[in-house]
Symmetry: C2
Subunit: 499 residues, 2 copies
């Protein structure tokens, strides 16, 4: 309540939006009812009939709010549509798009312990912390702050859909308009990698014109506060295979003589990093756009989760030569996703294997390009004495070159980052800070194809992470802590009212 | 024929055995008949009823030859028995045991293209070189030198059983006695790793007293000649696992910060060898008993298969810094049998894996002990900064030690080598060289538990490899080129006549 009073005082000069918290408090039970109905519709992106059911259901939710919804279809009409709605504000100085996605990660129902993924249930707490099923409450007073809803997409990302629409309700209840032209976009295949997003943006470019996108997706900071994330790393995958003999050899008769691909690969991989985990590939960090002083200051202000995470993850040391996690993820990375050469354990045999393969994941930051980053790795492999091919070697090549590596990569995509100095960042930070504690991250470690929005529409993107971080997003028993939903609606309402 | 005449002349002073070749030539058809019947009895060591059928059948074959056979049983009578026979020679200066094994490798019948494994067939040549089925010939004249018999154990090692018994026939046909007290031992679970051999040797120590064992098992040299192998490497397996986070982490959110066990393992393995493949673990070669000048000379005299093997195996370089294959296998080895960390290819995900594991195979030479060799590797891992455990680390240990490795090993066994200067080696080399070209190998690269025979019975062992090296031993479509069977009988008969 103190927070609310302070907010009221601070907003004195602006067209203040008085009581989002009070409205949320009064409407929890009906928001929950509407949300449980939405979660009951299966929403795996590849399940097109159910994706259509979701789209129709959400369109009706938007119609009821007067948001003039329509489905933005792909050219063949077969892809999950973007659901579009708008609340025009004549004379507003800017247009913003609020984004969420209505599809969810694929499910393996057998792994769900609390409830089947599309039978949402309400628990009094986390299921492994004494939570017990609760029947739908008649009023918000009966909803404890630890209550959670369990279902696929409870956090990721139907919570985004629900919170945006509830925030609209909150404004309407006070007969307010947004402080900007509001457009809403709900995507239907984000968890499938957004294969049609670029074409959809291009096809519906005019209607999607804006001054910026606010992406309502992802968790709050591990330490609790909501977080404004200004960027994501880019990503590109590669795979390297090195070769031993054409058939597995008896390790007794040929061991010490026939080259062992497992050892060759180990030497190759070991040559890529120093003992602190810094990548030693030539030029690996050269094209990185340095952080600004403001970004560096923002990072320094983020509560460090490092020690708690190390305890949780059982880590006695970390890479980065003393850098914090937040600092570390501002750099491009080289990660070994997996290694495979013959077998270990019970299936191991005494052989010199024929091949050894490593799957690599390269994360990119501003300034990196996927093709350039992959090329640096290729040149490094070459510099270790390898003939680098993009296919299996022929017998003739095997005999000609002492060492051969097959090196392939996927297309990947670049990083995206909105500078901390952008007016939208400044305004969002201000309004969200008035509403509670806020972490501002220049960039996440993870990746999203946000570059598409800049490339296709010229708009900057900012991500707002709202949900409890222990939400099992992507896994079984996905859930949302309802307090994070109420706080999220509250924050989005405050953003909507932002001048 | 010239070879035979020379042999006769050289043997002038000894109680010469005149015509083994001629006897074999005259009896090929009946040997083949007897051999096909023996091969038709399934002989996988774990198939005890059929192993008994083999033992009874072979006992009868020995009875027919007056070899006073009996079955040497395990204490519980359940293990495949040793089949023992003897031909005492009063006044002989020494006693020798000729050994073969009557069990064969397990079979996957579906993979056999030529014939089911226990339906032996005769082909006119190798099946993939135009060989066609031939009905059992009435006389040896009809048997071409390229003819092959296809069946499990056709080479490995019922050929040893058949050749020893046929050589006995050859002597008897000339009313000759062996030049030594002859004992014969046929083992019934060699391909299962001889789990009861030590106990059987101990239990039947008195009857198995001898001055040496001649093991009739394994192929001739890759370049053609029969080979006398004086030793084998020992063997011990180990496995090392290193640890990252307790659960797989998102490679974007945590890559660059959470230690990657695949990279740690790569660095650890790479630290174990230099670029020529020489093991850099402290003391790794220290306890090796050096080769004698004579052994070195014997190795230098072996025709080098290296270039042909490199072409066949597609190898553009080999380890050993210029050493030949034969030289290389005189040293202890460290081989990576396999590596595994998370997944590659289609199953790869963008994660920091939790563990990485390498299966290691250490081959040992004279002077090495399995426990000492394993300890050198353990100390090396420790010297790379690892806390070395023999089990999974606890959470408390994970937090206390920056790097943890689980390192486990199996018992293993030492190498065995009979010195080139041993009188038995000298005598066998002489008689076999008179009979044809011979390769004398101080040691095979592979391993057999021959140390048991020295440890339990105090007897040296020598292996005589006789069969075509392209015999698919252990695989599908195992076969024997009949000419190598005839030559083998010829050589064993010459050995039997050896004074």
């Amino acid at each position: 309540m103190l927070r609310l009073i302070i907010a009221l005082l601070l907003f004195a000069g602006a067209p203040a939006f008085a009581r989002p918290e009070a409205w949320v408090e009064a409407n929890k039970a009906s928001i929950l009812d509407e949300y449980l109905a939405l979660l009951a519709i299966p929403n795996v992106a590849s399940d097109l009939p159910n994706i259509r059911r979701n789209a129709d259901h959400i369109r009706k939710m938007m119609e009821a709010r007067g948001l003039s919804p329509r489905l933005l279809e792909s050219e063949d009409g077969k892809a999950p549509p973007l659901i579009y709605g708008e609340w025009p504000v004549p004379g507003a100085k800017r247009t913003l798009i609020l984004y969420a996605h209505y599809d969810g990660q694929p499910v393996t129902s057998a792994q769900w312990k609390v409830t089947p993924p599309f039978k949402p249930v309400l628990l009094s707490n986390r299921h492994d912390q004494g939570g017990a099923p609760v029947s739908a409450p008649a009023s918000g007073r009966e909803i404890g702050s630890d209550f959670r809803v369990y279902a696929r997409s409870a956090s990721d990302d139907k919570a985004g859909v629900m919170a945006i629409l509830a925030a609209v309700d909150a404004l309407k209840a006070e007969k307010r308009r947004p402080g900007f032209n509001l457009k809403i976009v709900f995507e239907g295949e984000e968890e499938a990698g957004s294969p049609n997003l670029q074409a959809l943006l291009r096809r519906h470019k005019a209607v999607l014109a804006s001054d910026g996108w606010l992406i309502i997706d992802g968790p709050a900071h591990q330490t609790g506060p909501q977080q404004l994330v200004l960027g994501v790393r880019g990503d590109v995958n590669a795979e390297v295979t090195v070769y031993g003999p054409v058939r597995p050899l008896h390790s007794g008769h040929y061991g010490n003589w026939a080259p062992n691909p497992g050892m060759m690969l180990s030497e190759l991989l070991a040559s890529m990093k120093d003992e602190t985990g810094r990548v030693t590939i030539a030029g690996f960090y050269d094209d990185v756009v340095p952080l600004s002083d403001a970004e560096r200051a923002a990072i320094a202000a983020i509560p460090a989760p490092d020690e708690a995470l190390k305890r949780e993850l059982g880590l006695g040391w970390v890479e980065g030569g003393g850098a914090s996690l937040t600092e570390a993820i501002q750099l491009p990375s080289l990660n070994i996703n997996g290694i495979r050469s013959a077998d270990v354990g019970e299936n191991s045999r005494n052989v010199v294997p024929t091949t050894a393969t490593a799957a690599l994941d390269l994360r990119l930051v501003l300034g990196n390009r996927p093709d350039r980053q992959v090329e640096k790795v290729r040149q490094h492999i070459r510099a270790q004495g390898y003939e680098v091919l993009d296919r299996e070697p022929t017998m003739e090549e095997r005999l000609r070159f002492p060492k051969i590596a097959k090196f392939t990569s996927e297309p990947g995509y670049p990083a995206e980052r909105t500078r901390l100095e952008h007016p939208l960042v400044r305004d969002l930070s201000e309004v969200l800070r008035r509403n509670g504690k806020l972490v501002v991250q220049p960039s996440l470690g993870g990746s999203l194809p946000l570059y598409l929005i800049r490339e296709e529409l010229g708009a900057p993107t900012i991500v707002l992470g709202l949900w409890n971080h222990d939400n099992n997003q992507h896994g079984e028993d996905e859930n949302i802590r309802l307090q994070s939903l109420w706080d999220g609606i509250d924050s989005i309402a405050a953003v909507l009212a932002m001048p």
